[in-house]
């Protein structure tokens, strides 16, 4: 009775994954066995067809959907990080009793959640981010929606013609505006009840 080559050996042979003695033994058997040669050819053609399988282009809106979810996540993580840092700072003060610290922290949490996002001072930072060639037309940031109009990101609901105060970027940028950082563009939003416009420099600036 003939002992044929195993399926695993044939498959690994196609991937050049057989050690030299095993490979030579297999080639010797193939020379004399039409049945194993036929099976090997079948496997080879399966591999060739799989390799030629066309890679489909993802739907065009996918990048935007991912970006929106990631921006929301960045927002959540940023706010969480700020709270953690603040609470840590409070508790390492030796003069502060734990109960007092807790009360202050709770008050701070309430404060940040109710006003945090809207009351951030825009201070700005140096930005080294390339401009994205396919910028989307709308973004959700910190639960606020921005639409791109004539090269400016305008918060939804703002009159495009409303008078604005243009702010210079200072030292530090609020985390909720970070997703705008790479745009090299202007963002118009409500800040402390005022319509302001922030100019984010381009990467080369």
């Amino acid at each position: 009775m003939t002992v044929h080559v195993s399926l695993e050996q044939l498959s690994s042979y196609l991937d050049l994954e057989l050690a030299e003695p095993e490979r030579l033994g297999l080639e010797h058997h193939l020379h004399d066995c039409a049945s194993c040669r036929g099976r090997l050819d079948g496997l080879r053609s399966v591999v060739a067809r799989l390799e030629r399988l066309e890679q489909q282009a993802p739907p065009s809106e996918l990048a935007f959907l991912v970006e929106r979810r990631v921006a929301a996540e960045a927002d959540r993580l940023g706010l969480q990080g700020r709270l953690e840092r603040t609470i840590k700072t409070l508790f390492i003060q030796p003069s502060m009793t734990p109960i007092f610290g807790l009360v202050v922290a709770l008050a701070l949490i309430l404060y940040l959640f109710s006003f945090g996002v809207a009351r951030q001072q825009i201070r700005g930072t140096r930005l080294v981010v390339p401009v994205s060639p396919a910028a989307p037309v709308a973004r959700m940031i910190a639960g606020r929606e921005f639409i791109r109009t004539d090269g400016v990101w305008v918060e939804r609901g703002l009159e495009p013609t409303a008078p604005v105060t243009v702010l210079e970027l200072g030292v530090e940028i609020p985390v909720e505006l970070l997703p705008f950082a790479g745009l090299g563009e202007r963002v118009r939003l409500i800040q402390d009840g005022q319509v302001v416009e922030v100019v984010f420099p381009r990467a080369a600036d």
Binding site: P58, L62, A63, V66, R69, E73, S132, G182
Partner: protein, 193 residues
């Protein structure tokens, strides 16, 4: 977010990318996204039934990538790491849909050989007449554990070692799953002719 042509980066570039992400540069994630978007989407497409499912899965994958990117230590390539996350997402999706997928133990591979994928739909597949579509339809009928290995190897070109790392299985198991997946396809495609 850009979808520039894909150029696979060297390990040094990858570590640099992670570092840029750590210090808050949002373009680092955008680069990682554009390098892997198409591959992840196509992997998801071969593991699910529809482009809609694949698009949703791709979103989940990149959200997880974003969450855990800081923990990437460079012990594997970024591509391997992203694919591991992607396959885990595919599996938890199957679990959520009660499609009885679990990580098979070595003895299970024989049992898998005998069962068909419960999600496969031969009637619908018969309508797909194109060569690539027929292959895709056949792929869907290959048990998931074998399909994962074959797709990683023959569609995405991973080495046996990398596949072992992505699926957390031994090389012997990698070899066996690839062989059985290919054999299932061979039988299906030859019986069609």
């Amino acid at each position: 977010m850009s979808t520039a042509p894909v150029v696979m980066p060297s390990p040094a570039t990858e570590i640099d990318l992670i570092e840029r992400h750590r210090i808050g540069d949002p373009s680092a994630f955008e680069e990682i996204y554009s390098q892997h978007e198409k591959m992840v989407f196509n992997l998801a497409l071969r593991m699910t039934r529809s482009p809609e499912d694949a698009a949703e899965l791709t979103q989940e994958v990149f959200l997880r990538v974003y969450r855990h990117l800081e923990r990437f230590r460079g012990s594997s390539t970024l591509k391997t790491w992203v694919f591991r996350i992607a396959l885990n997402c595919c599996r938890s999706r199957f679990r959520r849909r009660r499609l009885t997928f679990r990580e098979p133990s070595p003895g299970d591979d024989d049992a898998l050989e005998r069962i068909a994928d419960p999600r496969a739909d031969p009637e619908r597949d018969a309508l797909n007449s194109g060569l690539g579509e027929r292959l895709d339809a056949a792929l869907r009928r290959v048990p998931l554990a074998f399909r994962e290995a074959v797709v990683l190897r023959d569609v995405h070109g991973f080495s046996y070692d990398e596949i072992g790392e992505i699926l957390r299985i031994r090389i012997g198991t990698v070899r066996s799953r690839i062989a059985r997946g290919r054999e299932r396809l061979r039988c299906m495609l030859e019986s069609e002719q």
